[in-house]
């Protein structure tokens, strides 16, 4: 399946570089492990997954003066979710349709653009890309036709590309690569197509496969005892999001998607390592630790986000933590170890959750069967199939010690499966009729739709105390806003249907600034510095699941309360005038 295309650079169609061509500051393991405050070298800024910038020029005092300094139209629609990644004044942005655009980060001048010619017969269930990875002098992107492409950071020329899956069989990638230890680590999605998920590492220099680890074990492998029959062959376990990384111990932590097909009776057993956090040895990809958030998923609760690496004090003890706001609506605290094993610490709901009846001492939940759908069994459960928190990244600030969650409250789903036909490669294979999914969203029974309904909720949790510090509700709107925290005491997020980009006081939750952009913001914000000036960057471009949810809310709330959100991506960069 894997092909490597060695590329020989040629002059030909390439236009000349600008006269002021810069030298490129190569990205190393050391720089990724200890990024300079002025750079944003990967998806969440650091290997721990914090989404935190140590820059403090923009503060709670002066943020009201923040204004756009440049914008740029990406030329495509759908979900613009990638973080603007910045290395010494050069910004790299990926967009839907697998474009990568390189800019002068301070001026917005385009340096080069890579446009991937995607196949005509591609089925794009999730037309998005979540960002690039940097290493050495290359820029890496995983694609929706299941390739990884390596580009020259200064020219955009393709250096190599490697096929990591067969898109005609339902495999595709939307995640940003984790790059470390000379490897580009990515995973595949396709759980709605009957795939068997995996994480694979490619040599950063050549694109050759270094290792490949399935998230669903085959018979005889550890964890295979949690599957029956041939269900493992189509068991799902998609990998939707970049892993986080313990650089000291060289361990990668990923979150995994739900089992496939959706209904639990189609794949009896716990279904390891779906809906789990997995710890992989970067050397060989071996799974050396895991924690399954919930077993035998029935609710489409992919646990897509990797747990954040956060060290904090709890009950008088220093915890080297792994923290995850689950799609299943629970806030999970775990402890990592240098050898890999993951230990459960605590779990509690952060939104209304009526499925779990309790957790045992290892964090294994028990279920209310009346809230567990199945084939020919339709039930209503909360949170909805989009969960308490979907892919949208949570964040942490070491200054406030708070953990910030972009959540959905008051949403539930009514769902049930139907007997399945044989799998057809590359076609949806869910086990729930599409018209059922299309009409599955429900409000919680306590909701009165004659008044504005709190749906989106930005939450700030004190991990040491295990309690909510503050929250901010967004009324009558979906909220798909990735979060940036800064040393300036700010939390930046968009994600609402009113197209706003907002800054909150990280300690109190007060709204300090807001700005209406071209579209809804589902992009990951980042912050960087050029010539002593701090910038905030984000892509605005509504689409994919945010639009799916919005369209359903439009039918659930009285007319006039839910508006359309225009599509079309724009890169926005903000700064202070007098900085």
């Amino acid at each position: 399946m894997r092909r490597i295309l060695p590329i020989v650079a040629a002059a030909g169609c390439a236009l000349a570089l600008p006269a002021h061509a810069q030298t490129y500051n190569a990205v190393t393991d050391a720089r990724l492990a200890n990024p300079e405050p002025g750079n944003w070298l990967q998806f969440r800024g650091n290997y721990q997954g914090w989404g935190y910038s140590p820059l403090d020029q923009i503060t709670t005092e002066n943020v009201k003066s923040l204004r756009p300094v440049w914008t740029y139209s990406t030329g495509v629609t759908e979900g613009h979710q990638a973080a603007p990644v910045v290395n010494d004044g050069i910004m790299f942005v990926s967009t839907p349709q697998n474009q990568v655009i390189a800019f002068d980060a301070a001026t917005g001048a385009e340096k080069w653009r890579y446009v991937r010619p995607l196949p005509d017969d591609l089925f794009q269930l999730h037309p998005t890309n979540r960002g690039v990875g940097l290493y050495g002098d290359k820029v890496y992107m995983a694609t929706v036709d299941a390739y990884v492409v390596a580009l020259d950071a200064m020219t955009g020329e393709v250096v190599w590309e490697t096929e990591i899956g067969d898109y005609t069989d339902g495999y595709y990638s939307t995640l940003s690569p984790l790059v470390a230890d000379g490897k580009v680590v990515i995973g595949v999605s396709g759980g709605e197509f009957g795939i068997r998920g995996y994480i694979t590492a490619l040599d950063a220099e050549t694109g050759a496969e270094a290792w490949k680890t399935y998230t669903v074990p085959e018979p005889g492998e550890p964890g295979s005892e949690t599957w029956k029959g041939d269900a493992w062959k189509t068991g799902g376990g998609s990998v939707w999001m970049q892993g986080n990384y313990d650089a000291e111990n060289k361990i990668a932590y990923f979150g995994t998607g739900n089992g496939g097909p959706w209904m639990p009776d189609t794949r009896p057993g716990d279904n390891l390592y779906t809906t789990s956090a997995v710890a992989l040895d970067m050397k060989d990809g071996k799974i050396i630790g895991h924690h399954q958030y919930h077993w035998n998923d029935a609710w489409d609760w992919d646990e897509v986000s990797a747990p954040l690496l956060i060290d904090y004090e709890k009950d008088g003890r220093e915890i080297k933590g792994l923290v995850h706001a689950g799609r299943n609506g629970y806030l999970w605290e775990m402890e990592r170890s240098p050898e890999g094993p993951i230990k459960f610490v605590a779990g509690e709901p952060f939104v209304r959750q009526n499925v779990f009846t309790g957790l045992d001492e290892n964090g294994r939940p028990s279920y209310d069967e009346s809230k567990t759908p199945g084939t020919d069994k339709t039930v209503t459960f909360c949170p909805s199939l989009w969960g308490g928190k979907d892919w949208v990244p949570e964040a942490y600030s070491p200054d406030t010690g708070l953990f910030y969650i972009p959540s959905h409250e008051n949403l539930c789903s009514e769902l049930g499966g139907a007997p399945m036909e044989a799998r057809e490669p590359g076609e949806l294979w869910i086990g729930v009729p599409l018209d059922v999914i299309l009409s599955s969203l429900r409000f919680h029974e306590s909701v009165d739709t004659s008044k504005p309904v709190p749906i989106g909720k930005l939450q700030a949790w004190d991990l040491s105390k295990g309690e909510l510090a503050w929250e901010h509700s967004f009324m009558d709107t979906a909220y798909w806003g990735p979060i940036l925290t800064t040393k300036g005491g700010l939390v930046f997020t968009g994600g609402t249907q009113d197209r706003m980009f907002r800054a909150f006081d990280a300690k109190t939750g007060d709204v300090l600034w807001e700005f209406p952009t071209n579209s809804g913001i589902t992009g990951v914000p980042s912050s960087f510095e050029v010539d002593g000036k701090q910038y905030i960057a984000v892509q605005s471009g509504w689409g994919v699941d945010s639009e799916r949810m919005r369209a359903l809310l439009q039918d659930m709330l009285p007319e006039g309360r839910v508006h359309n959100v225009p599509q079309g991506g724009v890169v926005w960069v903000f700064a202070l005038d007098d900085a």
Partner: protein, 200 residues
């Protein structure tokens, strides 16, 4: 802007450079794999729908049979199908863009153009959404719309597949049909527009 940007797309860059690097079309094709630079005439199972093709049903009580109008209840449902080449006895199902939906509506409700493309009320639409290439499977009998699960685009079946809501910008292509001497629904030509998703 101070300088012209560089387009480094694979079509402009990789395949050509690979060709240059490897010195010939044969080795380039071997490297590039399933997308050869010069396409030969595709095999019948990959060829786009042709005039004279019948429609092989993929679902429902008549699964595996060639479509005749009586197999469809008016307004009730849409059924997946692929064109079938009677000359080579081949279902053209190795080309995903050939996936179609068969449905039957009252010709009196159709606009004139749609009626012209129909045969005894039978309409054949592309099953590939013009937004992002997802497979359309949902029929809304109330609105008479075909709905895409992926991103909720809706297409009016009575009006040449016109976009009625959602992010799609192009109408859903049709296959004009007629009935042959044996009563089968057959294509009168290829798709009325290019099937498949948009690239923006």
């Amino acid at each position: 802007m101070a300088s012209s940007p560089k387009d480094t797309s694979r079509s402009a860059g990789v395949s050509r450079r690979t060709l240059i690097a490897s010195g010939g079309a044969l080795s380039a094709a071997a490297l590039i794999g399933p997308r050869p630079a010069l396409a030969a005439k595709p095999r019948p199972e990959r060829e786009p729908v042709q005039a004279g093709d019948r429609m092989m049903l993929r679902d429902g009580p008549n699964k595996g049979k060639l479509l005749t109008p009586d197999m469809l209840e008016t307004g009730a449902n849409c059924i997946e199908a692929f064109p079938f080449d009677p000359a080579s006895d081949t279902e053209r199902s190795r080309n995903r863009l050939n996936r179609v939906l068969a449905l039957r509506l009252d010709p009196a409700d159709m606009d004139e153009e749609t009626r012209r493309y129909s045969a005894d009320g039978v309409l054949i639409y592309s099953a590939i959404c013009t937004h992002q290439g997802c497979t359309i499977e949902t029929w809304d009998a109330e609105t008479q719309h075909l709905k895409c699960f992926c991103h909720l685009s809706e297409f009016a079946a009575l009006n040449q597949g016109a976009v009625r809501s959602g992010p799609a910008r192009r109408q859903l292509p049709m296959v004009p049909v007629t009935l042959d001497a044996d009563g089968y629904v057959v294509a009168a030509g290829g798709f009325t527009a290019k099937p498949g998703g948009a690239k923006t």
